[in-house]
Symmetry: C2
């Protein structure tokens, strides 16, 4: 009597049925414990014993084919974001939440904005639901109208999204306003905004808060665009200041940029916050590990992930349930850089 399968053959329900001289339907019911049709306790034990002895592993593809549920959920995020510290953390956290939940597996799809949703890997591997992170309204609409049809979708992130959709939104406006109030309130006048994404800025709470505050104090906006890496931001700020030294604060679109900018300022021997105050956004851990810990807008990332997976799970359980949504608050944490 072997204790585990030696490996070369896959064993199926029918194998263990043959082994016990019962039907494979009984085996299926014994292992799944379906409530409607009862199986005798004795049979259940025999089947379970045989299953583990033979080393039976269920074939999810077959199960998915008949049940229509794959047990897969997708996480949707931009390729560009994926390279950044914050979104990499989001991805990792979502993985953890997914497996904590109903052992649902999580597949990541990374799509570029210019690519149509059509070659999405989600409708290829038919996921049960997806979490669309920082998806734009346009993409949302397309997603909803497109091939994916009726599919459980939860939106997460900071953008204002469609109505009538499960979502976990982070209100970044509050934090961004706090940041600008803080900078203005400490006497800064010529405040620059550093971003890697000018394209979407009209939808971005950070940029809106920035331009609003700038207008209120009657200053011209100063927008500095850069590639989305620390090293690019580091170089970019040096180039910029060479021509325009007249700046006393910088508000960055995210912490990676802020860290790059900070290092660029160090390269130029510019004292932070004495000469230039610096505020980032996202609240990644690295901010605390600079010699001048970085002020930043902390986002409740873990809560967002947990709730998103919760909402998705709820909807999979009951597709007709009323829409859930929640808004989480962001908060400015003032450290030494401002």
């Amino acid at each position: 009597m072997m204790t585990t399968n030696t490996g070369t053959k896959k064993i199926t329900l029918r194998d263990i049925a043959k082994h016990l001289d019962i039907s494979h339907a009984t085996v299926s019911r014994a292992l799944n414990g379906t409530a409607d049709s009862l199986i005798s306790q004795k049979t259940i034990e025999r089947v379970q014993k045989a299953a583990s002895e033979l080393g039976y592993r269920p074939n999810h593809a077959a199960r998915a084919l008949v049940t229509g549920r794959t047990g897969l959920v997708g996480l949707w995020l931009w390729t560009e974001h994926f390279q950044g510290s914050y979104h990499a953390r989001v991805s990792a956290q979502m993985h953890l939440e997914a497996m904590r939940k109903k052992q649902q597996l999580l597949i990541d799809l990374v799509a570029r904005p210019e690519i149509e949703g059509s070659d999405s890997r989600f409708d290829a591997w038919n996921v049960d639901g997806i979490i669309a992170h920082e998806s734009s309204p346009a993409l949302e609409t397309q997603l909803r109208a497109g091939h994916l049809g009726k599919l459980a979708v939860v939106s997460t992130g900071t953008y204002n999204l469609l109505e009538g959709v499960d979502q976990v939104r982070i209100d970044m406006a509050t934090g961004a306003q706090q940041a600008m109030n803080h900078l203005v309130g400490t006497g800064r006048k010529r405040i620059a905004y550093v971003t890697d994404d000018l394209r979407e800025r009209q939808h971005d709470a950070r940029y809106l808060a920035y331009s609003e505050a700038i207008r209120e104090i009657g200053q011209p906006p100063i927008c500095i665009e850069t590639e989305a890496t620390r090293s690019a931001a580091r170089q970019r700020i040096k180039d910029y200041l060479a021509d325009n030294p007249n700046i006393d604060a910088i508000f960055c679109h995210n912490d990676d940029l802020a860290i790059g900018v900070y290092r660029g300022l160090c390269d130029l021997n510019i004292k932070v916050p004495d000469r230039i105050a610096l505020v980032g956004c996202d609240g990644i851990e690295d901010c605390e590990y600079l010699e001048i810990p970085l002020s930043t807008i902390v986002l409740p990332m873990s809560d967002m992930c947990r709730l998103a997976m919760q909402f998705l799970d709820d909807r999979l359980e009951n597709p007709e349930r009323p829409v859930q949504n929640v808004v989480l608050q962001s908060e400015l944490i003032v450290r030494e850089s401002s």
Copy 2:
């Protein structure tokens, strides 16, 4: 004539076959372009047109069921590692390589060492192959003998693994020896080793290089254990130095620990490298963004991921191909911290 499916019904091969009044087998062949049986160009075009008009999406579960290949590859790594900066990057990079490859999807499994491989999610969702990252020899053996049976497996990481297996190994010994030579060569005597994983240290090239070098200079080893977070390391080093101030260099098991330790030293106003030299390991980006950029052992992470996915893909194409393995070099990068 609609251009896309409105969404409520899933359409199958049979639907489009009925629509064109041909058999679903023909549709299947037309879409897949099987070489053995020829389909007329005209039919192929009709089918493709109908497929896109009706919004056909293949059902991967069904395909997987009959072909036996799921198109999924798994990445195996430790839960504890997953929280760290380096391994989070590995995960992200593997994702990118996976989709760059044959649009293979990638599923992550995170297993804790004390958990048996038995509840692995890999044999649940039957992956075609897995990349086992930093798996221990014991786990390797279990993996190979266990339920997974004959499965494409590529080992990656720094540990010495089984023979006869595709692997991409990073020779960390060289870099670690460079690090110790460097510290000793610059006159350091009382060198401490900070780690979060005392358990596996006898297999760890870093620790081996450390204890070897320490023995050669006739000094006692100083091993400091901590939790695997920056903040824990930061506190731990402060506590330790309060009792044992007599240290002039620290070699850290990874960069997260090194960054935490660095900040702890800053808290104590200990000058780096003047009073204590500091060397980390992994080569994460953050090391460059400290005011005293951190010396570290840079691992060729991207190459590792690319090759691993390449090897896996090769083996899936041809299971009988000879074993491939490669050893990549690590390299000490000396920056200002040592």
